[in-house]
Structure formats: C-alpha cells, structure tokens
C-alpha cells in the first residue's frame, strides 16, 4: 500500500499533518495532557501572549448560544517572560511545532515580542493576533484596516526570521483585501478567522450577558461564514491559508481543505471533545485512503466549481 502523506508546509515550517489547535482554546497544551495525544498534533498555537501580564475581562466571560459560544476572556495571560519560564518547558518536550500567538497595544509591542521570540529556538512560528483594537482609533481592530495590517506585519517581518502567520478578524467588508495586505507585507500565511463580534442580553435583568458587553462568537454556528472567507481568500493570495472557525469534525476540516485551506485549526471543538484533533487526523487519513489520494496537498483547493 502506498503511504498517505498528511504533511504540509506553512512558510518554512513543515507540519506532520495540517491539524493545529487554535489560540486560546487549548491553553498551553498541558491542560489536555492525558485527554489527547499531544505529540500527534500538527502544531500547537498558544493562547495569545502579551508583553506584560494581563488580567483579562470581567465575569461573565462566556455565554453559550445556538451552536456557538461568545467569549470575552480578554487576553488574560502572564506575559511573555512567565510564558518562556513556566509554559515553554513543557511545550518543548512534545516534539511538536510550537506557534506562539502574540498581541500588543501598538506596533512596538508586536515588534518587541517578535524580537524576543525570534531568539527562542523551540518556537517555530509566530501567529499575529490582529483582532486587537489599535491604540489610536479604539474602535477599529488592526485587521479591520488594510494599512494597519500592512504596517504591523511589515514591522514584525523585519525582525522575525521564522514563519510568520497573520490571523485576521472576520468583522470586515472584504477579507481578501486584508489578506492581500498581509501577504504584501511579508506574512508567510494568513489564518482565517478569529471570532465575530457578538452579544447576548439577559431579558430578566435587562443587562448584557457578558461582563464586557460584547465578545467573540465561535463554534459551529460560524463555520459556513469562515469557510466562505477561506475560499475567497485562497483564490486571491499565493501564501497558504489556515482555516479556522467552527471545525467540529473531520468532515468540517475537509470542507476547509477542499475550499483552499493548507491547514486548519480546531478551536471551540476542543471544549466539546478534548480528543477531537486526534480523531480528525485519523479520519482524514482514512478519507484520503478511500479516495486514493496519497498526498493531502492534492486535496487543498480542489473544489470543483
């Protein structure tokens, strides 16, 4: 029997398989120890790290909706120093590519973080979380604006030598333009999508359900929109697209790959089934065997129109 290859490349990074875990939904991997085979993952993306520790948003931080959840965790993390000291040692034992998600209050923060990470051998790539408000215009997220996106990616690209992924918000009119800006500024890949801005109201108290009023919608509810964005963007850019948004099983994952994603990330589904990534990897392998496709790269973007 011919070997079935699941291996894909994102920038300089070669992954055993295209199944990653999405930032903020897998902690620092240790939390899932014993519940899934961590060594089997294509890559691990950490919760977004900032320079200084952050306490995040007020409770209530999470609300369940129909086939989705709204979260307003708010980038709670211990800062890059603690991450390197407390979290990285476990992560690097896994032998799986570690991708660190980073965010900042301004361009300088992003650059500074990237510089620090550039010197850490065990970190294979950086994912820029560009769904953060920029300090100047509080209302706009970086990846809601082409030039802010360009500047941020460009700034980091100058100092960061390994694989650089730009993660984009779906709360835009035309995500292809933002993706092109990221590509032009030197990103090796874009990941689509982060969460949709959303809210809920308690009709008894007449108050917002979330302490932060609004939060980000994720889960199967948003999958059809995420898939459309991945399809649109993958036709417009040359760098690989990483699909994320509502992937709950191998079938969802394959939809993204066929629509053009070189790799995918599993987010909310980890909360529902902590071993879902392992199952997806196995079932994709079966699918490829049944279809007699021996390299997953032949499936990427194979949508028949």
């Amino acid at each position: 029997m011919q070997k079935t290859s699941l291996s894909v490349k994102i920038g300089q990074l070669r992954l055993e398989n295209p199944i990653m875990v999405a930032s903020g939904t897998f902690g620092y991997a240790k939390e899932f120890k014993g519940l899934t085979n961590l060594k089997k993952l294509g890559a691990i993306i950490t919760k977004t790290i900032t320079i200084k520790p952050r306490t995040g948003n007020l409770q209530q931080r999470l609300v369940e909706t129909s086939s989705g959840i709204i979260n307003s965790i708010g980038l709670q993390n211990d800062g890059i120093d603690c991450f390197l000291k407390d979290k990285l040692p476990f992560l690097k034992t896994l032998g799986v590519p570690i991708i660190v998600s980073i965010a900042g209050n301004n361009l300088e923060d992003y650059v500074k973080l990237a510089e620090i990470i550039n010197d850490v051998e065990e970190i294979s790539a950086v994912e820029l979380n560009l769904s953060c408000p920029n300090i100047k215009e509080k209302q706009t997220l970086i990846s809601q604006d082409e030039s802010l996106t360009y500047d941020c990616v460009f700034g980091v690209r100058n100092v960061y030598k390994k694989t650089l992924i730009a993660k984009l918000t779906p709360n835009v009119t035309d995500v292809t333009q933002i993706a092109i800006a990221a590509q032009d500024a030197g990103a090796d890949s874009v990941s689509l999508i982060n969460t949709f801005l959303a809210m809920g109201v308690n009709i008894e108290t007449q108050k917002p359900l979330l302490g932060n009023i609004t939060g980000g919608l994720s889960g199967p509810a948003i999958k059809p929109i995420a898939l459309r964005m991945v399809w649109q963007v993958s036709q417009k850019i040359k760098i690989p697209v990483i699909g994320v948004g509502g992937i709950m099983n191998y079938s969802d994952a394959l939809e993204f790959i066929i629509a053009g994603a070189q790799a995918i990330q599993v987010g909310t589904a980890n909360f529902v089934n902590p071993n879902i990534t392992g199952e997806i990897i196995d079932e994709i392998k079966n699918y490829l065997r049944n279809k007699k496709i021996n390299d997953i790269n032949n499936l990427v973007g194979s949508l028949k129109i």
């Binding site: 903020g24 939904t25 897998f26 902690g27 939390e31 899932f32 120890k33 014993g34 519940l35 919760k47 306490t55 995040g56 007020l58 409770q59 209530q60 931080r61 999470l62 609300v63 369940e64 129909s66 086939s67 989705g68 959840i69 979260n71 965790i73 709670q76 302490g211 889960g219 199967p220 509810a221 709950m248 909310t268 980890n270 909360f271 529902v272 089934n273 902590p274 071993n275």
Partner: protein, 274 residues
C-alpha cells in the same frame, strides 16, 4: 484532592429518575472514575450529540456506591432538561473526575499544592465536629464528602420549603446529625441556613456548597468568627479543564480557574466581583 488521572469516556446510564420537584438523580456506571473520584470533584458531561446545546455541563459527584457514580441535579435549563429525558441504557460522554475537591482528611494545611489550603488553624480541631452546610442543590457534593470523612459531620441543609429539602435520609444513614432550615419554616429552623449555622458556632472546619448569596454571607460569618471554611463554587464553564479561562475568579492568591484550581476554595481567599 487533585488528580492528574482524568478519564474521557462514554458511560452508560444505569438509572435516571426524578427525586422530587425539579430534582433528579442520575446513576452512571464507571468503576474507573468511581475509584479516582474525590469529594468536591465534578464530571463534565456532554448531554447529547447535538451542537445545540454545544457545551458540556459540570455536575458534582454526589455519591459513590461501588462502581456506580451518583449525580444529583436540578432541572434549571435546556441542558438539564435534555438530561432529565435520558433513560437507563443511554450513553453519555463524560470527562472526569475534574477539579480539586475538599481537603477533608486533616484540618492541617497540606503541603500538596493543588489542594485547598486551610491557612487559618487557630480553632481547636479536636473538640468540634466538622460542619457541612448546603443550600438547595448544593447538597450534591456534600453527601460524597460525608461518606468519606472520618469524623461524622453535623449537616445543615437549607431549602426554600419542606418539599425541597434534599438528602436528609442519605446523611442520616451515614450517622450525621442533620438540621434543616427552610425559608418558609415548613421544616426545621425558619430562615437562612447561615443563620442556623450561628447556633453552632464556634466551629472549626466548615464545608459548604450553595448559591453565591449564601456563600457571600458565609464569608462574612467566617471572617468575623475566624472560621476554617471550604466552599465549592458554581460558575458557567467552557472547557472544564483549565484551558479557556472562562471560569476565572479573583482570589487573594491571584486569578484562579474554578474548574481546575477549584471548585473548592478556602473562603477567605475569595474576592467576589461586584
């Protein structure tokens, strides 16, 4: 106690029946989880395979009988409604045991870091029995705790009305001195269970589970009377395993995840928002 052995398994329902009013008892068949479980720990259960509702539901381990795990739950929303409609033979996807339970084996602070540390130990541990205080469905984890304790505790149960007093028999069967407080006075003391507690002070070790309002007033009582008191918190959860940071609470020792660093905390450490 905190265990690194967490099981994710499809488990058969042995029984699922209404106890009274909106309260139900679920019995699950898992000797593996039964062996690992500690009082105060919980199971994270996917009620059905639909994405609506999407998330698992956290439910405390109520009692262990051999390889059988009992869960006592209140029908409060969609998830528990669907659960109440499951029947014996149905399969549930269960993760557990999760979280850090009650530190009940000794009144001394333990070195083991994942345990709830009892920092104040001035009260004399020997001349008084431990007291368990339950509000409403908060009795659920306390039966398992009473099962496991070496000293038979005094149990104070608070409920709205006589018909909603839960688990009196279970505690009595364990030899506990059981006292009741009902809001409407239809059984036992008329008033709050925290007011009933005052009759038992000074006390040494207190273990409590119930609505936030009860725990907040307990916190005041504990502070005034300098009591050792461990409480189990109830908060909406995402992952249930410490990954998502949905269930974070402020404590004197920094931000803690209720699902992983709790649900049991030393009441002195808790800093409630708002």
């Amino acid at each position: 106690m905190h265990s690194h052995n967490i099981i994710n398994k499809k488990i058969k329902i042995i029984d699922n029946t209404r106890v009274c009013n909106n309260y139900y008892k679920l019995i699950l068949d898992s000797s593996v989880i039964a062996k690992l479980a500690q009082p105060g720990q919980f199971l994270h259960i996917k009620i059905n395979s639909s994405f609506d509702p999407l998330l698992r539901r956290p439910l405390s381990i109520h009692r262990i009988l051999g390889g059988k795990i009992e869960i006592l739950y209140e029908l409060v929303g969609r998830g528990t409604k669907i659960l109440s409609e499951s029947s014996s033979g149905d399969i549930l996807d269960v993760i557990g045991p999760l979280g850090k339970g009650f530190n009940y084996q000794s009144p001394q602070p333990k070195a083991d870091p994942p345990q709830a540390e009892i920092t104040n130990d001035k009260a004399n541990p020997n001349n008084q029995l431990p007291i368990l205080i339950a509000g409403g469905i908060g009795v659920a984890p306390l039966v398992f705790l009473a099962q496991k304790m070496k000293q038979t505790p005094i149990v104070l149960i608070g409920a709205k009305t006589k018909n909603e007093v839960l688990c009196m028999k279970e505690f009595k069967n364990l030899g506990c001195d059981v006292r009741i407080a009902t809001d409407d006075g239809t059984l036992g003391f008329k008033g709050r269970v925290t007011d009933l507690l005052k009759e038992f002070l000074p006390a040494n070790r207190i273990y409590a589970c119930g609505p936030d309002a009860m725990l907040k007033s307990l916190q005041k009582i504990a502070a005034v009377n300098n009591l050792n008191c461990q409480v189990s918190l109830d908060e909406g959860m995402g992952c249930g395993i410490g990954a998502c940071l949905a269930c974070v609470i402020n404590t004197t020792k920094g931000q803690k995840r209720i699902c992983h660093d709790g649900p049991v905390f030393d009441i002195k450490e808790l800093i409630w928002e708002g």
